[in-house]
Amino acid sequence: MKSFRITASGIVQGVGFRPFVFRTALKSGVSGFVRNLSGSEVEIVIQGSQDSISKFFSLFFLNLPPQSRLEQITITPLEGDILQGFKILKSEKMRYEASQIPPDFSVCSECIREVLDPGNRRYRYPFNSCVNCGPRFSMMRKVPYDRENTAMVEFPLCDECAQEYNDPDNERRFDAQGISCPKCGPRLYIEDMRGNRLEGDPIKLAGKLLTEGKIIAIKGIGGFHIACDPFDDDVVLTLRARKGRPSKPFAVMSISSDIISNFAEINPLEKDILESPERPIVLLKKREDSPISKHVSPGLDREGFFLYYTPLHYMLLSEVKGNTLVMTSANRHGYPMCTTESCVKEKLSGIVDYMLYHDREIVNRVDDSVIKFAGNRLHILRRGRGYAPLWIRMKSKFKTPAIALGAELQNAGALMFDDKVILTQYVGDTDKLENLQEMEKMLNFLMSTYDVRPRVILVDKNPGYQTRYVANRLSEKFSAEIVEVQHHFAHALSVAADHGSDEGVAIAIDGVGYGDDGNAWGGEILLFTGSEYERSYHLKYVPYPGGDVNALRPRRMLAIFLSQVMTLEEAGKIAGLNENEVIMLRSSLRGNRIYTSSTGRFLDAVSAFLGVCDRRTYEGEPAIRLEASASNGKLLDLDIPVVGNEIDTLKAFEWLISEEGKVNDIALTVQYRLGEALAKAALKLNPQVILVSGGAAVNEYILRGLRENSEGIEVITPRRVPSNDGGIALGQAHYLLQRDRAN
């Protein structure tokens, strides 16, 4: 007789790991037990003959459950009692190794098959799930992933479900924590905004109402969506008017990739991601002949598509024409997505006509993730459902646990300990208290899950960020040191962390971040070693009087750029400012003390100059539309020179004034040539690879300009985190690692 203790960490809870171990034990004939530990790991004890033990191990490693990921496994021999049979024990409070919190998975194909089978007892059951699929993180109150720690605790198993749960032969439901059925599970309702419940099948009713052009809030996994008919201009415009959202694109959900291919081009990489269990929104190139209303993503050449990820979505999409719906996050402008019925009633009355909801609580808000392929490379624009809160492993260990608070817009925070960085899901703009509190709540959740106390709080250098308030609070609570990291260095380090480099050359092309000299940086080439860096090159400084107003008014920014190569009067005229605005701008410029090297503002100004976009109604809009306007453009002659340590963007404006070509050619040229100029400057530093990050690092044409002019040096962007500010927390984490190593 031999005995072993095995502890497994990675993604081992919420993925059918214990039942898999149980079945493996029965097949191999070992006795013992398996149980979840509180650090999200699993402990297995087995006892048996040499033969049965080796059979256990070979079956174990061959057949691991599909959604599981084994990151660490420890096997230690045990002395001990003779164990009888094999049991799944209740979860234990202790932990040896921390393990992953399982993210939410889309419904699997077997579960959909059951829902479509009239003979199955789960026929048309909108919450069907099994050991391989369904919500996890979004309904978890704490670890370990046991039913009583999730929102499913409100729904005790009925006899039939209990039987499946206890039947080791039932591969998909044995010991599956989230299962339920029409008898015992959550229920679905539909009501109007006065609270009157509608009688009948809620999904069929919703389908009918949507077809009639109604707008409906729909409760999903990590929050509510707002759904409407994407083919009808009037309906989409009504939604825009009601939301006060003139042009921010809406996501579109469909029932299959085949159907989506009628609306957009899908390459094989994009298809894989679309159909993955993470089911992110993928920004696809629109087809010219797409029947989807042009108001869904006005002025853009891409549209965000995703596939259904719950049986509810599947059945609803089956009811509507084209099996496709607008599914945009349900929030009022400036507020986070609603996760409760009361939020919908309070914040969305006047926006939606009906609410389709269920009585399972959404514990953690998780937004849909967003992915874009540029130059056949994957860029995560928003890291939410399906990806968060999976951790990222670093090359070395943190000296002490720490917390990173990221930047401010499209923000995510992070907890770090051992060699792990756990980014929170995308929490949105933390200049809103609601989002700031959400981030703090998530960080508290992570701290208690992994039972760590941070000794360092990492923040952006910007003294005006609202995260400072959280930093002060946490620092007091944990007597933790507050450490500032420069914004673009953090951007640079977010790619460095992703690729495990501790030195190199990084280009940060971005909106605005607080510079070491108090100016608004945003087009920086940094040469770094460990936690030290040198700002080798940057976009030419231009005045930035009034700060943020220039981001909100691209024509003002344009006038400032132009005023550097002509009189302010002429500049104002070209930029379309009125006389009084020109005088006010002069007044601002006279007292100006702050300058910018922002790439975003440069792109904004070009966008305004070309008449592509002169109003910012969502983050990055002028620059995003400038990128879209370059579609099918061809490259013209333009040299943006590197003069001293500045990349002379003013040359682009001199060129723009004299150039009379087509808008798409000009738009493409400016973006491409900027990339070229950045490459030229970076090459002077003899890089091995060129790391690129920042909000503009997903721009197709800048990237092309960079890649085609880097003389064969590889150009690398972040893979696992957004290159926008959603990835800053990872860069901050990497900074701490480097700083502590140097000490």
Binding site: R332, H333, G334, Y335, A407, E408, L409, Q410, D431, K432, L433, E434, N435, N462, P463, G464, Y465, Q466, R468, Y469, R473, D510, G511, V512, G513, Y514, D517, G518, N519, A520, Y541, Y544, P545, G546, G547, D548, V549, N550, A551, L552, R553, R556, N580, E581, I583, M584, L585, R586, S587, S588, R590, R593, I594, Y595, T596, E619, G620, G695, N724, D725
Partner: protein, 352 residues
């Protein structure tokens, strides 16, 4: 490019109200504090109280000297009078110190003195002592005026403090420690007028605007309000504006303050200019406005009294004191709430 060393020399930021000025005062001037006075230096309030006398001083520099709706003379009387009134004092007498640049036109000086006289009459205070200095051309920009003032304790203040006793144990003066959960925050009129009027009057870069500075002595209005009662504290949002003022209140009272952006009165024209210039109306200085914390049971009467006074006709309730919150929080017009911190001096860009 030359950049200010913000650590080791004094920059314009240190005089702008807000974070830099606060740390300068704390690090340098507070060393003078020896605990003297009923309300002393350590309170860092608008005025001090010594032996029952309210005492304060202020220096005035402004470009241009004459601006739409006022001038440096009116400003130097109003500023000091208001600081006394915000403590609950009744202003009596002022000193007047004038430092002039060589070459300053005499008729301009006479105009300024005329304006001082008129404003003093309006406020019913008396200039009783003074001093004049002239500096070499180029060593000073035209003119600097300093005024100091003293005020007595009016019976209206006694009455007001009496009315506060129903809901709290107040100090004898109008100070931030009087604030209590539930007190209403009132501003007595539109914000930002003074800053925009001054900017738009600037030579060479003056822009078109009809906005007039609000500069005015507020002592009579405050006295009427004390007669009504329920005033826990009053303070004028000068340099650093409403943002700095509320932060001060929150820190000194240990209570949270909640305000609604949509309720803050701002003239359309001011709003448009402020927006285009990239300024924050919460951080702009005002010279004829007060912010009040008012006990809720008196707020209706206080508002009525304000609305019948020309200086208070635009008065609005913008929020309340909340013990369940930390710091100053504002519900914004774009949606959501945010912390309102002390002004950082220069605008700090945050939009990526």
């Amino acid at each position: 490019m030359e950049l200010p060393d913000r650590k080791n020399v004094i920059t314009l930021l240190h005089g702008a109200g807000g974070t830099y000025m606060h740390s300068l005062i704390r690090d340098v001037f507070l060393k003078l504090n020896d605990g003297f006075g009923e309300v002393g230096l350590e309170m860092m309030d608008d005025a001090a109280v010594v032996n029952g006398i309210v005492f304060t001083t202020d220096s005035f520099v402004i470009r241009p000297i004459f601006f739409r709706g006022g001038d440096i003379g009116r400003l130097s009387v109003s500023g000091t009078v208001n600081d006394i009134a915000m403590m609950g004092g009744d202003p009596q007498a002022l000193s007047l110190g004038v430092v002039l640049e060589e070459g300053f036109p005499k008729d301009m000086l006479e105009k300024i003195v005329e304006s001082i006289k008129k404003t003093a009459e309006e406020a019913n205070v008396h200039v009783v002592t003074g001093d004049t200095k002239v500096m070499e051309r180029g060593n000073l920009d035209k003119i600097v005026i300093n005024t100091a003032g003293i005020g007595t304790r009016p019976r209206q203040l006694d009455h007001n403090i009496e009315t506060l006793r129903k809901s709290r144990q107040p100090s004898r003066w109008l100070v931030p420690t009087n604030l209590r959960d539930g007190d209403k925050i009132v501003v007595t009129g539109t914000l930002g007028d003074h800053a925009i009027a001054v900017l738009s009057s600037r030579e060479g870069v003056g822009f078109e605007s009809n906005v007039m500075s609000d500069v005015a002595p507020l002592n009579k209005m405050i006295m009427n309000l004390l007669e009504v009662g329920g005033i826990a504290d009053a303070k004028d949002p000068t340099r650093g504006g409403l943002a700095d003022l509320l932060q001060d209140w929150s820190e000194k009272s240990g209570l949270g303050i909640f305000i609604r952006e949509s309720d803050i009165p701002v003239k359309d024209e001011v709003r448009a200019a402020v927006e285009f210039l990239g300024m924050d109306v919460l951080e702009l200085g005002n010279e004829g406005k007060a912010v009040l914390a008012v006990s809720p049971e008196y707020v209706k009467d206080v508002m009525d009294a304000l609305h019948s006074d020309p200086l208070g006709k635009d008065a609005t309730i913008i929020g309340e004191v909340r013990k369940d919150l930390e710091g100053v929080i504002m519900e914004t017009v774009v949606g959501g709430n945010r912390y309102v911190g002390r002004p950082l001096g220069d605008p700090v860009p945050r939009i990526c």
